[in-house]
Symmetry: C2
Subunit: 341 residues, 2 copies
């Protein structure tokens, strides 16, 4: 069952299993430092489609199909798909699962969407509402750029604090404990995040907008568990970028928490120094692909045993920014453990 | 606990309670046949805000505040808000709860969002993941019109099959069974819908795009329960409009199900004949306000005892329509009962 411990943390006494996962990325992401650890690297970011929006949906569908394949499952074994992305009306996700024939719940948590889907999915599989479900998220540089910023061909200058929307997708299959007894990966805890808004209005500095929310959620998780950062092998945010990651460390230090020894950020990890992505990667697909690729591989290979994914998102739209509204951050966290020796 | 019965229906053995609810609507909706049954009717659809988007968020916030007030609750008693709307990046909802300080999960189910939030919320409160949570949804004619169609001042002609996006919001507080023992309203069953796409590409005929999904979900619910339509006092879709409602009756008749004696549609109920809304109302706020206003009042007053809300949505965006993609429908259903004599 699901138990609340402390103020905000959910504990799964018989934890749902993370059965299988897959990550699909674009060319630039595949050429990054962790490129070899993604399941699929596109030869062409258009994915053979007529539009960037369809390309994004094809990338998400690829991640979904590969996750199912790796778990030895077909779509009809899923009770539910929880998916989301940055496109207006979450079009990348509903197009990806349009003909899947699986019940579908669209999620919108901006770049925190993968963590939102995993936290919600863990509750649903732990409670019997679903035996097996899939959580997915995606983003695409080209569909995001033209929706949020400028037409690609315009070649607008980017601010030093700006992040680079990743062309990436991740998908993970969660299962009820009794539906996947032998699976060693499990989600043991989850924290749903609240919006935190400290007056940031600069859409080119999402890291600053999101760091306070990451601080809020991680401080709550550690306090509720009575844990120290070192009780985890890795605490990973996704995706604050370099600016936000530095801010988070500073904010947590103010609360007496030193995250540095175990901390990493998906946006910082995804691209190399020479890839001209300024503050790092972002987009729903960034943390989704980093988790479903490199981070879970590390767990599976026994290189780490206990991981926190703290997915971060910026609650804004081009319209709200144009209307002068502040940008709130949000951060949902899940604890993923590998059982056994 | 949550038990799966038949193919797709979830049954809550100790059902979560529907503690309180409120509906807030615009002037035109307030002037409709059920206007007196909404908790709040705006004197001015701009709600004293600088933009239509902020007006929509103010309307949703009004519904949330009234629902809490009617339940004798303050925000800090909520563990979670599940909310969504039609605006890009679900801006109406995140703006409405920006400073609530409550964990927040953005939902995107197009016009089915209220039913999606209630079905998901029922799972979360039934399982212990939340003691109390709030589900909300909204839409606003003026913010939707300029985002999906034309600038308001353009005065574009509307097709006879088109629906009128309601200026409306609804909010409902769900509670775990042990947190609200005395509350007579309970959610006993839920069905998560799958996307059904039969080739409709006309964004001015959403009813036709959504009716097949409503048929899919309602047929599954009735089969799983071994029930007839007459086992319910009302089966209400939200919102197929006149065109979609007729289609649904025809489709279900093809499956040997006569829904007519207990059937109604939120989009048909919301506006009167003389209000020039063509096929009827639509928008996330339409079914949200109809449920949280007139329909729950009927249950509370003992005029009905067992209700199905089958929230229907059309999965499309202006971009996908312009790119020639077909429009899938989706339909999530909840069964709401009043206990006691």
């Amino acid at each position: 069952m699901i138990e609340r411990i402390g103020r905000r943390t959910l504990r799964f006494s018989d934890p749902p299993r993370l059965l299988s996962a897959a990550a699909a990325v674009g060319q630039k992401e595949g050429a990054g430092p962790l490129g070899a650890q993604f399941d699929y690297v596109a030869r062409n970011d258009r994915m053979g489609q007529k539009s960037w929006e369809l390309a994004e949906s094809a990338l998400q569908r690829t991640a979904i199909d590969l996750a199912l394949q790796k778990g030895g499952l077909t779509r009809d074994r899923l009770d539910l798909i929880l998916a989301g992305d940055l496109l207006n009306q979450c079009a990348g996700s509903f197009l990806a699962s349009l003909h899947a024939g699986v019940p579908y719940l669209g999620q919108y948590g901006a770049c925190s969407t993968m963590a939102q889907g995993l936290a919600l999915g863990a509750c649903l599989t732990a409670s019997g509402a679903a035996q097996r479900l899939l959580a997915a998220a995606s983003s695409h540089f080209c569909s995001a750029e033209r929706q949020y910023r400028f037409p690609l061909a315009y070649g607008g200058q980017r601010a030093p604090t700006a992040q680079w929307t990743a062309t990436a997708a991740g998908a993970a299959v969660l299962a009820a404990p009794d539906a996947a007894k032998s699976s060693p990966l499990r989600i043991t805890h989850a924290v749903f995040g609240r919006m935190v808004e400290l007056g940031v209005k600069d859409a080119n500095n999402m890291g600053a907008a999101m760091a306070p929310a990451a601080c809020d959620t991680l401080a709550a998780l550690l306090a509720d568990l009575g844990a120290q950062p070192r009780d985890f092998d890795r605490i990973v945010t996704g995706d604050l970028g370099r600016v936000g990651a530095d801010l988070l460390l500073t904010l947590l230090r103010g609360e007496g928490i030193d995250l540095a020894p175990v901390y990493a950020d998906c946006g910082v990890l995804l691209f190399g120094e020479g890839q001209d992505t300024h503050a790092g990667g972002s987009g729903c697909g960034c943390s989704a692909a980093m988790l479903c690729g490199p981070l879970l591989r590390e767990l599976q290979a026994g290189k780490s045993r206990r991981l926190v994914l703290a997915g971060t998102g910026a609650m804004m739209s081009p319209t709200t920014v144009q209307q002068g509204q502040p940008i709130a951050g949000i951060c949902h966290a899940v604890v993923i453990e590998r059982s056994g020796a």
